[in-house]
Amino acid sequence: MITVRFFATLRDMAGVEVKDYPVGEPLTLKELKKRIGDDFPALREIMDSRSILVSVNQEFAKDDSVVRDGDEVAFMPPFSGG
C-alpha cells in the first residue's frame, strides 16, 4: 500500500486528504501520478505543474523517483509559511 496525501488547495481539489494505493511491484512517481489522475481528474493537470512539490517519505522527490509498498507520498502546493 502506498499512502498518498494531499495538502491545502490540492486537498480541496481532490476532496480527500489521504488515499491508499495497493501496489505490487515498485513504480515511478510518474506512473503513480497517472493512477492518481485517473481517480482525481481535477488533479491531473496540476500534478504536473512545476510549482507542485512531491515528497516520498517526507523527502522531496522527482517524477523518476521509485515508490514502493509502505511509502508515503505527498503532493504539496507552493509553501506559504512564515
Binding site: T9, F79, G81
Partner: protein, 142 residues
C-alpha cells in the same frame, strides 16, 4: 525535538521563553536577533478576518530542524530557535519566531534573515486567508 529549539504548535508562544532557551546554550552569546512574523489585517487588497495555517506533520518539523542545523554550519552562530504556529490565528497574533544567537551581532542578523527566507522556501506550511468574501489558500511566498 532538539530540546524544544524547533517547534510547531497551535498555541501562542512566548518570545522571552524562546530567547531563554537559546541563551541557555552558551555563556559566549553576546548578540541575539529575533524575527517575529505576525498576522496583518490587510493583504492583496482585501481585509483579512483571520488566518489558518496547515503543515505536513513530521516533514515540517524535519525541515525546520534542517534549517537550524544548516544555519549552525554555515553562519557563525551559537544557537537558533524556530517556532511556527499552525491552526487558527487571529489578526495581530504572532505566527512565527526565529531567534539567532552569536558572539557578535552581525552573524546573528545574517543567520536570522537567511533562516526566515529558507523557512518560506522549504517548509511544508500553508497559509489560508479568510476574508469577508471567502477563503483562499496562499501559494506564493513574498
Amino acid at each position: 525535538m532538539t530540546d524544544g529549539l524547533v517547534r510547531i504548535q497551535k498555541g501562542v508562544f512566548s518570545i522571552e521563553e524562546a530567547v531563554e532557551r537559546v541563551k541557555g546554550a552558551s555563556k559566549g552569546i553576546g548578540g541575539i536577533v529575533c524575527f517575529l512574523g505576525s498576522a496583518r489585517d490587510f493583504s492583496r487588497g482585501k481585509e483579512i478576518v483571520r488566518l489558518e495555517f496547515e503543515h505536513y506533520p513530521g516533514m515540517a518539523e524535519k525541515k525546520l530542524e534542517e534549517i537550524r542545523q544548516r544555519a549552525k554550519e554555515n553562519f557563525n552562530i551559537i544557537e537558533m530557535a524556530i517556532v511556527h504556529r499552525v491552526g487558527r490565528i487571529e489578526i495581530g497574533e504572532d505566527i512565527v519566531l526565529i531567534v539567532t544567537a552569536s558572539a557578535h551581532r552581525n552573524d546573528a542578523f545574517m543567520a536570522c534573515e537567511w533562516a526566515i527566507s529558507e523557512l518560506k522556501r522549504i517548509t511544508p506550511i500553508w497559509k489560508k486567508e479568510i476574508t469577508r468574501e471567502g477563503e483562499v489558500w496562499i501559494s506564493e511566498t513574498p
